[in-house]
Amino acid sequence: MTGAAGLSSINCTQCGAGLSVLGGGRVLSHICGYCGAVLDAQDNYKILTSIGKRDNPYSPVKIGMTLSVDGAEFTVIGTLGMVERYRGQVWRWTEHQLFSATHGYAWLSYEEGNFVFTRKLRRMPNPSWITLKTVNNADTPPRAWYGRKYYRYYETVEKELDFIEGEFNWVPELGAKTTSVTLMSSDAMLSYSQTPTEREVERSTLLDRAATLADLGIDPNAIPGAKHHPLTPFRPFAHEGFVRTTLLGFAAASLLLAMTFAVIGGSTVLRTDRLAVDRLPQSIPFELSNTAQLVRVDLQSDVNNAYALFSTEITGPDGQPLVAAARATQFYTGVEGGERWREGSRNARYLFRAEAPGVHEITLDLEEAESWRGSHVPVREVTLRIREGQPTYFWMVIATVGFILGAGALVARRAVHEKRRWMGSDWTDE
């Protein structure tokens, strides 16, 4: 434990116990930790009242410890035990009054392993005051503007003084209640606190736990771990901005390439005129030179309100069967409820890979055809087109999705953190 240099001390005017005097000239009261006497620091430590001996609330912070906040040295001069009761639930925490010879008075709160530093505001936020009534009548969470940041309503707390010890620049009373309307920004809280006699606006920030423990001289292993606090800052991964930007850039490049591959086709090696289906089967030779990429076979029929199933068989340069496939074209139109509708497609296709360059032959036949309604001829003609060197956009879409998911995960992590920060808010839209 580090102690403040140059201490003076007094003896309690009720029990005679030695009490350190740490709090400077504006201390109004000094509560003896041994007997509970409330002494008037401005009037020779005259006994104002006595609250009796009470159990100390748990806090690793002790009177006399020192810490540095934003370069200012503070000494812990007093301890308050606070309690909040709401619908059968009870929350307890401790608040320590701090004194700096150069920066005046402040507060250090210890709650669930976290250290929060609080100071009274010198400049007023906008609006300068928010009441509980304002909150209850608001349709949206009340907001305030202070120090170039927006604060949004977080919670309202009615806290009660449950324990007092040490020096204070006011005269605390056991059981005294304070109502605080708290708003939160990305890194701080604004509290509009009201007691029966005064109003204050305070700003709180979460201190770095490890640095604060080291500063106070507290062994981190001797106290419970910290729970998540709403002011816990988001900790981005190293190079997160770079990684996110890079992933989005690569996603854009992948998407562009996917669109390019979707638009460009291979080179046509066979395009037939309209073939009458009553003259099928027909065998047509074509030459393939590209065996590295895919070959695309397209069928287009004049099927109308009917279904037609075509079969194809492709033989390789050695005359052996290479591919056999059946594809259906079916196309229907009609009017229903005064609106025209259409369904199906007159086109069909498939992709395959050639094994060797050379002259191939495709045999096209009509397997079956059937009209949907009436007795019209289901299909009269079909055209055939074959292209080699056909790319696909599938893998580029996969890459695009992968890059976007990567960037999205980083954005989602930040969003989850933000959502978690606000989970403790008592605001409801009802």
Binding site: V69, D70, G71, A72, T102, H103, R119, P236, A238, H239, E240, G241, F242, V243, T246, L247, F250, A253, S254, L257, A258, F261, A292, Q293, L294, L309, S311, E313, G316, Q320, P321, L322, V323, A324, A325, A326, R327, A328, Q330, S345, A348, R349, Y350, L351, F352, R353, E355, E367, Q390, P391, T392, Y393, F394, W395, M396, I398, A399, G402, F403
Partner: protein, 72 residues
């Protein structure tokens, strides 16, 4: 006296190319080029529902025209 403000924190993003950034860029480039390769050559994108030479020679229907389930 005003509370002394903390010195601005050093930006996480630096202008220098760290080994991590270079490795990450290289990884993304490899992934992109890999996708380009797969797309250009149509790896794994042969249509299903067709009988290929292997299945035809093996006497398997292989989803060819004995398997008319694949209707587009």
């Amino acid at each position: 006296m005003r509370v002394k403000r903390k010195a601005p924190q050093k930006r996480e993003e630096t202008d220098t190319m760290s080994p991590f950034r270079l490795a990450f860029l290289a990884g993304c480039t490899v992934a992109l080029l890999g996708a380009v390769y797969l797309s250009y050559y149509g790896v794994g994108r042969e249509s299903s529902g067709i009988a290929t030479a292997a299945s035809i020679r093996a006497g398997s229907p292989g989803g060819g025209y004995n398997s008319l389930g694949r209707i587009k």
